[in-house]
Symmetry: C2
Subunit: 524 residues, 2 copies
Amino acid sequence: MITGSNAIGNKLSKQGKLTYKTFNPKENKETEWTFYEATSTEIDEAVALAVEAFKLYKDIPGVKKAVFLKAIADEIEALGDELIDTYCKESGLPQGRAIGERGRTMGQLRSFAALLEEGSWVEAVIEKGQPQREPMPKADIRKMLVPLGPVVVFGASNFPLAFSTAGGDTASALAAGCPVIVKSHPMHSGTGELVSQAIIKAAEKTGMPYGVFSNLNSSGIAVGQQLVKHPKVKAVGFTGSISGGTALYKLANERKEPIPVFAEMGSINPVVVLPSALEENGNSWATKYASSITLGAGQFCTNPGLLLGVKSPELDAFISTLSEEILKLEPSSMLHPNIYEKYQEGKKELSAQQGVTVMADYEKAVGENTGRPAILKVDGIDFLKNTKLHKEVFGPFSVIVCCDDAAQLESVLNELEGQLTGTVLGSENDLEQYDAVVEALKNRVGRILFNGVPTGVEVCSSMVHGGPFPASTDSRFTSVGTSAIKRWVRPVSFQDWPNKFLPQALQDANPLEIVRLEEGIYTK
Amino acid sequence: MITGSNAIGNKLSKQGKLTYKTFNPKENKETEWTFYEATSTEIDEAVALAVEAFKLYKDIPGVKKAVFLKAIADEIEALGDELIDTYCKESGLPQGRAIGERGRTMGQLRSFAALLEEGSWVEAVIEKGQPQREPMPKADIRKMLVPLGPVVVFGASNFPLAFSTAGGDTASALAAGCPVIVKSHPMHSGTGELVSQAIIKAAEKTGMPYGVFSNLNSSGIAVGQQLVKHPKVKAVGFTGSISGGTALYKLANERKEPIPVFAEMGSINPVVVLPSALEENGNSWATKYASSITLGAGQFCTNPGLLLGVKSPELDAFISTLSEEILKLEPSSMLHPNIYEKYQEGKKELSAQQGVTVMADYEKAVGENTGRPAILKVDGIDFLKNTKLHKEVFGPFSVIVCCDDAAQLESVLNELEGQLTGTVLGSENDLEQYDAVVEALKNRVGRILFNGVPTGVEVCSSMVHGGPFPASTDSRFTSVGTSAIKRWVRPVSFQDWPNKFLPQALQDANPLEIVRLEEGIYTK
């Protein structure tokens, strides 16, 4: 049941006077629930509980944390239709998407549980002492990853489940051994409360320390700011806009003790369309990209917002087909009136830029808050002169850049900001012939694809969902896949530490049976 | 031969008008050489060359980069006595230290060469496609670490070889595939020029791209600032003071595209002396710590600047012995008059704090710029009230905190800033009895030692030389040991990329024969 309360540890709490409501964009009206913003006292209480919980939680064996994560997945499933209905009401997204995203969320939790059960993720390295070494004896030194401390996770607007309350950030931080305080996203606080109840139930059932998880409501920025500035908070996870992510990143760097902020801030995900792709499969790629651009009303970080090619009759034909195909698809409701408004503004702004031609803009009647797909076209020379055209327009929207030649295409890519993904459509011959273009693209992205669409991010250990700034604030980490756990840990060396007082991962007998680097050799 | 020039790529260059000299602290006079500060144009030229070099260098196979690194070590050795003499003149450090540090520097280069020859450091992960998977096919996804781009390295005052021109930062960045621009340390620019000549000779002999390395002189902060702000520079390595490191970190975060700054900013390296250590080996620990505190005139980042214990007659005896022993050791010259002056000021400031007793301060006649060792004592209650006492006094100096009980000791540790190291002296019984104290210490450090001294940092793969802020700006990385290479890379995923166009590390046949995580299993 949705109460509108915060969860401070396992306790429901609504001490504040500020309230807000979530919104059903499809019906264009507020939902029935009233949410209570967390007060300054409630925030401090949640952090204090997390600090206490950390002392115990960090040392709970991985296999027990795995039981906790799996229990969260089970409890989310047990929420049944109430969760799916709330999700749909608060997001305007269809039921199929809700069920799919719930599956992804449970899958993520279970994949981190599997990672903990296997155990090698702590990167244990062992180099024993050599007391006889000349001219100096060598100490026994062993290292492994240990958790940072309490982590703050900001819910994302566009993934009410998979990147929010029990999403990838929370799952990876809990897996790492860090208590989590969620700053619930104001657009889906009801969904968030249900999921937080599932987490708390799972924590109680599996004997996790009180305060290992808290969930705080807020409609503005004050709660998030107080959390990021709190001296006892040790890291932050965020998925959202460049302005939001950059603001938190700055705040965290201005602290007396700066802390890492892992902000995944979206991207325009350049797609380079090379000649063979146009000659051999132009129509088929146009159809696939019409779908990819409009998937989920274009509200994905990996939405292809920029297509690039060298001018040719085939490129023109591709643009025409894409523009026709995208108008055949039924537009859908966006997540919130605010997001819809921003989409409208962004589309208008980019359409008005020098040299831009609007190739498609859905004109038929649509429901409330529905994002009308659009395709814009611009010459390479105009794109190079105008960085406004690099801007992400969050929605079913893409700009096609028509370059004079490969050199101009390379220049355009070199001028782009960091991106989550980059895609090359073409043949293997193209890869050879356009080597410099491909290298320029590779240098700007966290994931590079050949002959595919960037939407659809597989949750696996080889995934990089991140990239050079501003795709993310730290290109050395990913927010999707099991490696996401590495954001919440740091290495510690133990020198000449007595064997029985070492963490199990570093003990001589390798009781956890994990893969370790021992004297330079990977061994189990 | 020392020319006083900058090295812009392989070319000697002294276009500027600003000059400066290095200083022989032992003889208290300037050295014979004149150094030319890099101009703004020279800086831009060095970066432009690094950008071009990166395009080629990043793809040079690891085994060839290893040849380059080993050649640097050989060329440093070939500098012979000129290097050792210059080192001693510019640092005031004895010849034995110079030879030892040269060995360490060559050893570091060779250990990164071995890492590249082995090759598994790129963390290759392979998850093949599953076209038949339901409900959605799974793409082929593979990831590995790739270099960030041009790196700026700041030479450190206290390690003219091992943490400067061809030190750990340079060696690890070159190993990662990043061109390096060194901002030479103004206290030992002659040593720096000789080493930079060795690097350039090695680059030429082994066919490395022009501009893979440059060396820039400067006596002030302008050259370093311009380098850190340069949009084409992708990361920074620094070892030095908290004020210097923090300033660079801020500068890098204020860029349009923020970049990582790995600043290792020193530490007071707390040592917790538990009862058994005092009862059983009090005198022996006092003697060892007198040596550790004064080693290299106390000019090590891992110098034990803070000792802590619970009040007892044995602790008093330990303090007395330590204070006596430290006065028996011959004081030595500090690196530079500026460092000597700062040491004098710091010692004076801390000695004047409320509740502080000076237990030892060397009073006999000493040479110029010689750091007189000192031991201070203060009660836990006074230490808790006064964060000035947390300050690192760079030199042969330590403060001993006498706590009322274990709880106060724990409080003191909890209030400390992040540290490179923490040490526990005691028995295994003490570890059990003082569990909370040990946990508090562990939570604040990058390396924890049992019954040892923190000075002496082994170069190996299990070493963590780093720690929570302000010990370093990024506790997730180390600046010593082979893992230091991880600072200069980021992961990239390749999705459905044709096998023959993949980097060798990710190709099906595993031509490099490296350890990879394939479908969740570590395999070769």
